[in-house]
Amino acid sequence: MKIDRRLFANFDWVLLGLVLLISGIGILNLYSAGSNLSAGGEPLYIKQMTWVLLGLVMMVIAFSVDYHIIIRHAYLIYVISVLLLLLVFFYGNITHGSQRWLALYGFSFQPSELMKLAIIIVLVRYFDDNMEKGYRFGNLVVLLTVVGIPFFMIARQPDLGTAMFLMVLFLSMAVFAGVGRKFLIYFTLGGMILAPLCWFFMKDYQRERILTFLSPERDPLGAGYHIIQSIIAIGSGGIWGKGFLKGTQTQLRFLPEQQTDFVFSVFAEEWGFGGVFVLMFIFFVLIMWGLKITRYSRDLPGALTAFGVTMFVFWGIFINVGMAIGIFPVVGIPLPFFSYGGSSMIALMIGAGLLMNVSMRRFILQP
């Protein structure tokens, strides 16, 4: 196949710029978050740079192959992701009491992050195949199976946060694709029946987290500690922040999980409301840009892919920041392009690649 010159002409430099800008600020922030850890091994910000570079390579692959081809292989991608989750179930490494990691040639890798992308792609394919025919009860069963399998596999790792994230992603896409009111009513009813069951299957620490979220001061030195320390960190940053590397909450390690769950609090403490406002603005522009790509995409699979990835990023921001400021329970969702983590960084970079893919092919007709 000849490469169309228009592909270069239409390359989405703005999107690339936004992603690099956020990742760059993220690395700077990790330099601070990691500086109070004792020496040993590569510093986190260096590792994160490696992940960003690796992610950029994956991004190039993700926008080079026409997204129609990727979507044509949606079920294969989905099956592979499910198999990887199955491997985690049998061979996964256990950290902090849950089994989420797969060791691969010395790297640890979290298949549940990949699953977020796979679910987007498989849903695009399914909606694209079945849209005109209208939705029936049979479609609901198929969709619930497709989403339900990874949901339960991830939920029993246990990683309820990521499992719920898949559901939220699914719902956003389903509503956008126009599945109909009846479908949503069925789904909500099902959810209301299943929710108490979930409570029954949760581990103690998960219940504790939800109770703590409802009232953090219940146990200020135990489970509520994380949320309180995060709020103090953010608030104490004030308008202009305490300055880079000078956040006492961060540097004196009052703030837990500061490279992943509460990475935003580190930033907020050291850069204040001014810094946070700029960061939130960049994130907002990124989401708007994703919606713009959705709006101008050439066909249904393009629009659905762009929308799915945009929602992937949007919910990541909303839930993670919400966690840090105490409007969401602590569920372990990383802040996109910002939290430390190879699997999530690479999954997001591939997602950004898919967005570019749709964006740069919007004027080109399939041969």
């Binding site: 104490s236 409301f273 708007m288 066909d299």
Partner: protein, 615 residues
């Protein structure tokens, strides 16, 4: 691709554009909520929360557990824990670092060399990370620093537990040493419960029993001031100290072995043939495990790793040597069991043995004359065993060698144990792609050629003759106990199997070993004692093959090509209670070099026993 065309015509962007407009509003609302809440926290409640962060005083820190002690068989402590004190400065709290440093130097009478720090770590711009400026200060200095802490803002003292290896070099290879866990270890499954900064066993028993020795960490809630200095402790979960390990090693006997060796290089092991207990295990030259305590210096490490005598190697289990004449016992056992010879079979030795166009020599020029099996063991006649080897063949020999425990690890509780090598026809074909030569069996029958054994394997094989035919697993560990002396794990004698030799034949071999020490012309004459009968066998292991002209090694051979001197013995003849093996690397003849060392060990052992009986 008509499908795509169809869809393109069916695609109705307007349906989506309406939805996207709704989504944009929702996203906007979401960001508004987040930003509003951030505004509320940082701007409205900012001062309030800043106050709270400055008053934030409670901090949770982990407490490292004390490692378990290691003791000898009598309960004497071999490895203890000591405290070492480090001084660090928190740049943010010190404000003026130069000033604090000079005050500190003045108080402690430190010259410019005593304090080490590099300016870069202060300038790295991490104001809350303590920078270590002096390690392992004495208790007097500690007191000075503590009493003047008001004048020394930002100065903190860290207590670091360190291991004290009381016997130093003498037991280095058994006990091993500890160090900070490395990045590569952290990635391994075996270290899944460990964290950065943990101290782990790196070698010897410290490594082998790390899971028992390490203990469990605890936690502490402390009140700290605004820059992170500890003020007082609010709550504590105690750490659980590691279990104590009791070894079968007898520290007194270990010292006797160490001294008996003088400055020679090699290894000595003492074992109880009745149970497989390892009572002493000495390696020379050795290293001081205390050097590894706070990270070994590059210079010392280089010294150890470049020393050609390999002080870091535990030669007793990781050294592999040709067994030399000590192997003749295995050959004799095989020939007896296979019915190829009896006690009385006589062979004439004229000092040479021809095999095709090659001539093999007996160590004794002119030969031993007519000898039977007993004399052949006593005088270590090579020619007799050349004949036996020829009759048996290499594979039969290998079968018996394996029966005596050669060719696989003994399972002693030490890391890095080697298997040795029992050559077979198949092995040679695989390894060299060449068929086995008959002459190689001839070399093998006197323990030269391809055959390799570890000292521990060899001693264990002799123990099986001493105890009437049982191969015990060598036992270094006597037991593991909690701090309050509750048994965690016991290590009873473990009979691995019986050697494939009948009781009658074991007696013939044992009597041969008795003769080698006590009869005229015996090679082990140096061990002959009045009070008690010693049984033993010498061995001289060639490092390079004997030249055909048949000249013995002379003094001008370079050190690394000189023969290894071996001696194995057990005592007394009736119901032996100890077995001793001595290997002097590149030492020369077993009878003249290793036997006197073994003698000192045996004498020392019985002196000890006498002393204990008197007490």
């Amino acid at each position: 691709m008509f499908g795509n065309q169809d869809r393109l015509t069916n695609y109705d962007p307007w349906k989506f554009r309406k939805k996207i407009r709704v989504v944009i509003w929702l996203v906007f609302l979401a960001f508004f909520i987040l930003t509003a809440r951030l505004w509320y926290l940082q701007v409205v409640k900012g001062d309030n929360l800043r106050q709270r962060s400055e008053n934030n005083r409670i901090r949770i820190q982990e407490i490292k557990p004390l490692r378990g002690l290691i003791m000898d068989t009598h309960g004497d402590i071999l490895v203890d824990n000591q405290s070492s004190f480090d001084i660090s400065i928190i740049p943010e709290a010190a404000k003026n670092i130069e000033d604090v440093m000079s005050k500190l130097a003045g108080l402690c009478d430190w010259g410019p060399d005593a304090i080490f720090y590099d300016n870069a770590s202060f300038k790295s711009g991490k104001p809350f990370v303590p920078v270590r400026i002096s390690r392992n200060i004495g208790r007097d200095k500690l007191a000075t620093v503590e009493t003047n802490s008001m004048d020394l803002p930002g100065v903190v003292v860290d207590v670091v537990p360190v291991r004290e290896y009381i016997y130093g070099e003498m037991m280095a290879h058994i006990l091993g040493y500890v160090g900070e866990i490395s990045a590569s270890e952290l990635n391994r499954d075996a270290y899944s419960g460990y964290r950065l900064d943990d101290i782990v066993g790196k070698y010897g028993i410290e490594k082998y029993l790390d899971e028992y020795l390490k203990g469990e960490r605890g936690g502490e809630q402390t009140e700290v001031d605004a820059v992170g200095r500890r003020l007082n402790v609010l709550g504590k979960i105690k750490s659980v100290p590691g279990h104590n390990v009791i070894l079968n090693i007898d520290a007194d006997l270990q010292k006797i072995c160490w001294d008996a060796f003088q400055e020679k290089a090699g290894t000595a092991i003492v074992m109880d043939p009745r149970t497989g207990c390892v009572m002493a295990m000495v390696n020379r030259p050795s290293f001081d495990p205390n050097l590894f305590n706070r990270g070994i210096s590059g210079e010392n490490w280089k010294k150890l790793t470049t020393n050609p005598l390999c002080p870091l190697q535990n030669k007793a289990v990781s050294g592999q040597y040709p067994p030399g004449s000590t192997y003749k016992l295995v050959v004799a056992a095989a020939a007896l069991e296979e019915g190829l010879v009896t006690e009385d079979t006589q062979i004439f030795c004229d000092g040479t043995y021809r095999m095709g166009d090659r001539t093999f020599r007996c160590w004794k020029k002119g030969g031993h004359g007519t000898v039977d099996l007993h004399r052949a063991i006593v005088e270590s006649c090579d020619v007799y065993f050349y004949h036996l080897g020829e009759m048996l063949g290499v594979d039969k020999l290998a079968e018996y060698a394996a029966g005596f425990g050669f060719g696989y690890t003994t399972g002693v509780a030490l890391p890095g144990e080697k298997k040795g090598l029992v050559p077979t026809k198949e092995w040679k074909l695989k390894k060299y792609g060449e068929p086995w030569q008959r002459g190689e069996t001839t070399s093998l029958s006197i323990g030269q050629g391809f055959s390799l054994v570890t000292p521990l394997q060899l001693l264990r094989a002799y123990c099986s003759i001493a105890n009437g035919g049982i191969l015990y697993r060598p036992r270094l560990i006597k037991g593991i106990e909690t701090v309050d002396r509750q048994t965690v794990r016991g290590f009873p004698p473990e009979k691995e199997r019986s050697i494939p030799v009948s009781g009658k034949n074991v007696d013939i071999l044992k009597h041969g070993l008795w003769g080698a020490v006590n009869e005229p012309h015996g090679t082990g004459w140096a061990l002959k004692r009045k009070e008690m009968d010693v049984c033993g066998k010498t061995g001289t292991a060639q490092v390079i093959s004997m030249p055909e002209d048949g000249e013995d090694q002379k003094g001008d051979v370079p050190y690394r090509f000189r023969d290894h001197a071996l001696f194995v013995c057990f005592v007394p003849y009736k119901d032996p209670e100890i077995a001793v093996l001595v290997i002097v690397e590149h030492g020369g003849h077993g009878g003249s070099v290793s036997a006197p060392i073994a003698r000192r060990i045996v004498d020392g052992y019985f002196n000890l026993e006498r002393k204990e009986q008197k007490m």
